[in-house]
Amino acid sequence: MENEPMSIEVARVSKKFGAFPALDDVSLKLETGELVALLGPSGSGKTTLLRLIGGLEQQESGRIFFDGADAANISIRERQAGFVFQHYALFRHMSVLKNVAFGLSVRPRAKRPPRAEIERRARELLKLVQLEGVERRLPAQLSGGQRQRVALARALAIEPRVLLLDEPFGALDAKVRKELRRWLRKLHDTLRITTVFVTHDQEEALEIADRVVVMNQGRIEQIGAPREVYDHPASAFVCRFIGNVNEVGAAFIRPHDVEITSRRNGAPSLDAVVEFVNTAGAVAKMDLRLEGSGELLEAELPRSREAELALKPGDRAFVKFRDVRTFPS
Amino acid sequence: MRLHFLLLLFAVPAAHAVSLLNVSYDPTREFYQEYNAAFAKHWKAAKGEEVSIRQSHGGSGKQARAVIDGLEADVVTLGLAYDIDVIADKGLLAGDWQKKFPENSAPYTSTIVFLVRKGNPKGVKDFDDLVKPGMVVIAPNPKTSGGARWAYLAAWLYADEKFGRDEAKSKDFVARLYKNVPVLDSGARGSTTTFAQRGIGDVLLAWENEAHLALKEFGADNFEIVTPPLSILAEPPVAVVDSVARRHGNAEAAAAYLAYLYSDEGQEIAAKNFYRPRNPAILAKHPFPKLKLVDIQEGFGGWRAAQGKHFADGGVFDQIYQP
């Protein structure tokens, strides 16, 4: 590739839609070649941030730098940002090949490769996204997964210095989504293009990203590697949003940190009554009602341990917590 | 053949030395078609100059309005003097236009008669018969049509004579007549079509010339004309629109065009098209039925008075006619 991937810096950016603060003083630095997931519920500002980076929206204050240069002076056409949209946005009247070739064919005459070269490159990209043989079809004749791969090939055709993916797998069913997720990770490992990936699916973010940016109400809650945000959430919001969590009083406890015994064994523990047991799955899940406070607790334990305990709904049990987190309110 | 057709389609009409626009009212279409050809021949012979006359027809009041709004008529030949007065009021021609040509600038006259179905099954003889319950009368709308105003005034004139100029009784009489009119067409020609073509109504209140034309077009074996003993003398006037004709350089030709209406040939063509010629000698050659004719001056004190009293907004017609 002739264009090197770039680093992106977002410095104190704010953006409002009417009275609604979509982004509130957001700062973020993306290293060259990394894959970053913007994760958050809808309305958290993640898509707005992506569109600002791509130049589809203008911020009210703050600045964005591409490789140190102020992006305000770089038009959308010059940003060389490859977009992939949730609903593909393929050109419906063009064949798959023409879709992929579009970015090259609209270049100014001086910079435009010859027709044969454009076609060769488009075919090469379709090969890269494993879509040989569908060149002549129209987008409507492809499955959702195929369409999104065409969209990716189309974005890659302009040799982007950054890839911006807006909920790219949001419209696909669960199985295809998982496959494409892994495939995208592998592709990224090959191409190493700086990539920003918007999703509201924490599992997706944790699985695919080098770093996860957790967003809430227009602000960044935490930035970190997947394991880091899971194990060391910086706020109650992150803790709640990523993985399951029990809240007992002001304490946050992951279900797999709940330890259960059927007999009091001397160590301090809480009394509870088993309400529900589910053993279908890799781990067994148990719901318990704490005596006294009446709070419901979800627990995850290895199936072997569950078999050992042999607890049924209505049985008395005793719980301890391996790890407990609290956050300043 | 096809090529020939296309050539015709895009060929530009040859330029003429003089081109006049005659803005006229509805029932004169056939008359002016014939007269224009005769005048062009006469002008060529007298002046050695080609003249082409373009025609525009429509309701008399509507045509006056179009001329005021900019329709560039060299001459107007309308249904009644008031419509030309309105144009004069806007300064397009002199206020004394009626003095420019003989006979109050009305080279031919007409009157209002009844057209009935063959054999006169309802026995219509006079205006009295038109107010009978159950009689269906077809007439155009006096608000928009010149002929309609003449028809209305003819009925009023009859009532005045019958009740000795008792206005309340005349008003009641005319009101009863218009109760028998199921539909008011906007123009004289529309009413004729309603009566003759669509077969609606027992009697049509029509221009004399229009009634004769209907007889000719739709067959004398289907209709007949009933001439009442008393009716109005309708004087359709003509005038040169000075400001326009002068601007076009047509003033002389326009005046000659209207003057020739009084010539023997003009009068003959008018009579042939069922307009009563002014020239008594030519009138005598044609079988126009005799009846008592009262003119607008005698019956109503002129057109401005009649217009103001009867047809202005809120006037007598508005009071008696509720659609």
Binding site: F83, V106 | F5, D26, S56, G70, L71, E217
Partner: protein, 263 residues
């Protein structure tokens, strides 16, 4: 089953009664005195002039409304700007007002009694009761067709493809020509067909500004009225049959385009 047959029967009967019978009547009247009289009607200089004027008005109004309609629909469907809802309502204006009123608007604007009147007259510019007025009136009444057809179509397609095109480096013009326009081409053709049918068939607005000068400012529909008023029924129906043919061609094209739009 019986109910469905009844409904189909009712629809067919309606079609026959209100479409085929009048159409047949037009042609029957037009050929009443034989093919010779029928074709003679079109050799009359006034009829030729009416055909010429009708073609001229359509040839000017349709392309202008095509360009305007596409531009307006594009602006309304793909961008947000102040006054957008006002523009949308303005486009509908010719549909909302009676054609006669549309004509009167021009009389009030350009008539001799309007404030522009003296200036126009001084500069020998004729608008109403002349060809320009007829073209303007035609332009006005046919103005919504293309835009009205395109706006919902463009709105339903959203802006995603345009945004994608721009992000891929296309200029605004390239985006329009290569993405927006091809996506709406059948809808556009549909709008143009309707626009043309109305341009050639308009009566009311054109009647008001025409002045009815024979052979000069009469379009086909006005010429039909004149012939009819002159009791010249064969010629009236012969000329009307041209308009009927136009309607049939329009109907055929329209069905074809509809079929292409929803294959």
């Amino acid at each position: 089953m019986i109910r469905r047959l009844f409904l189909i029967g009712a629809a067919l009967a309606f079609l026959v009664l209100f479409l085929f019978v009048p159409l047949a009547a037009i042609f029957a009247e037009a050929f009443r005195r034989g093919a010779g009289a029928y074709f003679a009607s079109f050799r009359d200089p006034d009829a030729l002039s009416a055909i010429r004027l009708t073609l001229l008005a359509a040839a000017i109004a349709v392309p202008l409304n095509l360009v305007f309609g596409v531009a307006a629909a594009w602006a309304i469907a793909k961008f947000d700007f102040a006054g957008k809802s006002l523009l949308t309502s303005l486009i509908d204006l010719p549909f909302a007002v009676s054609p006669v009123v549309s004509g009167l608007i021009y009389v009030l604007l350009f008539g001799a009694q309007s404030w522009l009147g003296p200036w126009l007259s001084a500069h020998h510019i004729k608008i109403i009761f002349a060809v320009p007025g007829i073209v303007l009136a035609t332009l006005f009444v046919t103005f919504p067709f293309v835009a009205r057809e395109l706006i919902p179509l463009m709105q339903s397609q959203g802006r995603d493809e345009e945004i994608a095109a721009v992000s891929l480096g296309a200029s605004g013009w390239q985006t329009f020509l290569r993405v927006t326009l091809p996506n709406v081409k059948w809808g556009l053709l549909y709008g143009v067909i309707l626009c043309n049918a109305r341009a050639m068939g308009e009566f009311g607005a054109v009647s008001v500004v025409s002045g009815h000068i024979r052979g000069e400012t009469t379009t086909l529909p006005l010429h039909v009225e004149i012939l009819y008023n002159e009791y010249n029924f064969v010629a009236a129906f012969a000329v009307a049959s041209l308009l009927a043919l136009l309607a049939l061609v329009t109907l055929g094209l329209k069905s074809f385009v509809e079929w292409r739009m929803n294959p």
